[in-house]
């Protein structure tokens, strides 16, 4: 069971590492000071969660790799994050709409994972769920404010949603990794989470006077290492210091 669990933990960890890095790019560039700090807080939560999921992944793998080895010394094709998470941060509307879609999915996913038969996974999930609820509230308020705001903010939020929506198909992607762990009661079926997720997201989007795109969300390949051109650039920045100075400590 260790190989599927290792893969699954990489998926959870890499989503957070990559999206947390995207949020960290806002540090010093937020539209207002309070929001700059808020985005850094969200980023910190996600990087903290990534640390815990990747640490557990390393323990499960049993080859002596810790969270730093997994974050800094894997290459692009070894990353298992959703492509949604690696897209460039865009403007503030794009960042907030993406964060809303991601957080809304994860309150349902983490809620189910909290009941995992794997005690280690359930333990770190409980904390991540509490953090993600705060993220969801924060992003929901911003998306409502932007969508139901000025013509400019509405246009940007709608543009962000139109661009992001097709990437959400991958949220519920599952394969033999999920099947093996579902058989052990460790992880949930993802398809049943899609309805509650979409209802939660739509509630916010409708209040924000935004129109959910009609087209079906398309599938992609992040879960088995197929990524957009953007991930490589992100990893170059994320990994350069560790790779230039192997073993360096503060």
């Amino acid at each position: 069971m260790s190989a599927p669990l290792f893969e699954y933990l990489l998926r959870l960890g890499d989503d957070r590492l990559v999206l947390g890095h995207r949020l960290s790019e806002w540090c010093g560039h937020g539209p207002i000071l309070e929001e700059d700090i808020a985005l850094a807080n969200l980023s910190l939560d996600l990087l903290g969660q990534a640390t815990l999921f990747l640490r557990l992944a390393g323990e499960v793998e049993g080859l002596g790799r810790d969270e730093d080895a997994l974050a800094y010394w894997r290459d692009e094709h070894e990353f298992r994050n959703l492509q949604l998470c690696e897209l460039p941060r865009g403007d503030f509307a794009f960042t907030m709409v993406r964060q809303l879609l991601f957080a809304a999915w994860n309150v349902h996913l983490l809620d189910a994972l909290e009941r995992s038969s794997h005690a280690g996974l359930a333990g770190i999930t409980a904390k991540a769920l509490k953090e993600t609820r705060y993220h969801l509230r924060h992003c929901s308020e911003w998306v409502q404010r932007l969508g139901d705001g000025t013509a400019e903010s509405h246009g940007r939020a709608q543009g962000a949603l139109d661009e992001l929506w097709p990437w959400t198909g991958e949220l519920s992607y599952q394969d033999e990794v999920d099947a093996a762990l579902q058989a052990e009661g460790m992880v949930p079926q993802l398809e049943p989470l899609r309805g509650p997720w979409e209802a939660q997201a739509r509630e916010v989007l409708v209040r924000a006077t935004l129109t959910v795109p009609a087209g079906p969300p398309r599938m992609s390949g992040g879960r088995f290492g197929r990524h957009t051109e953007h991930l490589g650039h992100l990893l170059a920045e994320l990994q350069i210091v560790a790779r230039s100075h192997p073993g360096a400590t503060w």
Partner: protein, 160 residues
């Protein structure tokens, strides 16, 4: 054992220096060997990415070594997840006196779209006429508020 707990009660949180690691509920278990030379302290992190945890663990180690323990082991547990409900009533009063509005009861419900209309009293003048400035403050565990009566900005320890 009593000694160890008394020592731990003097180790303060670096971000909230009026509360000790015991009052915050970060210390979950303390085991002292029969000879009293070795001690194992089990801690649980507050938030997944709380950067103060490293400092807190170093401070715990330093305090126990200074008190004469020869071997200090620190263990980490994640379940049950830390909650602000573990902060005692006297500790909440210390927060208020320090200018931080203490947390209400942590809720397990999904957060609704609108901020829960929870009343957060100003820790300075006691007024209930306050407004949220940002849900995320200088640390992950606090949000920013402003009092409409005395105009004082203040922090609120988020229910978690």
């Amino acid at each position: 054992m009593t000694d160890a707990l008394e020592i731990l009660a003097t180790v303060m949180d670096p971000e909230v220096p009026v509360l000790s690691v015991m009052e915050l509920g970060i210390v979950r278990q303390v085991e002292v060997d029969p000879a009293g030379a070795a001690i194992a302290v089990t801690v649980t992190p507050t938030y997944s990415g709380c950067p103060a945890m490293h400092t807190i663990e170093a401070e715990i180690r330093k305090a126990l070594l200074a008190a004469g323990f020869q071997a200090v082991e620190l263990k980490t547990v994640y379940a049950p997840a830390w909650t602000t409900d573990w902060i005692s009533a006297p500790a909440r009063e210390k927060l208020r006196a320090f200018g931080i509005a203490p947390p209400g009861a942590a809720s397990g419900d999904l957060v609704p779209l609108q901020s829960a209309a929870r009343r957060i009293d100003c820790p300075y003048c006691g007024s209930a006429d306050t407004e949220v400035v940002s849900h995320f403050g200088a640390t992950a565990c606090k949000s920013l508020y402003r009092c409409r009566d005395c105009r004082q900005p203040f922090e609120h320890f988020k229910p978690f």
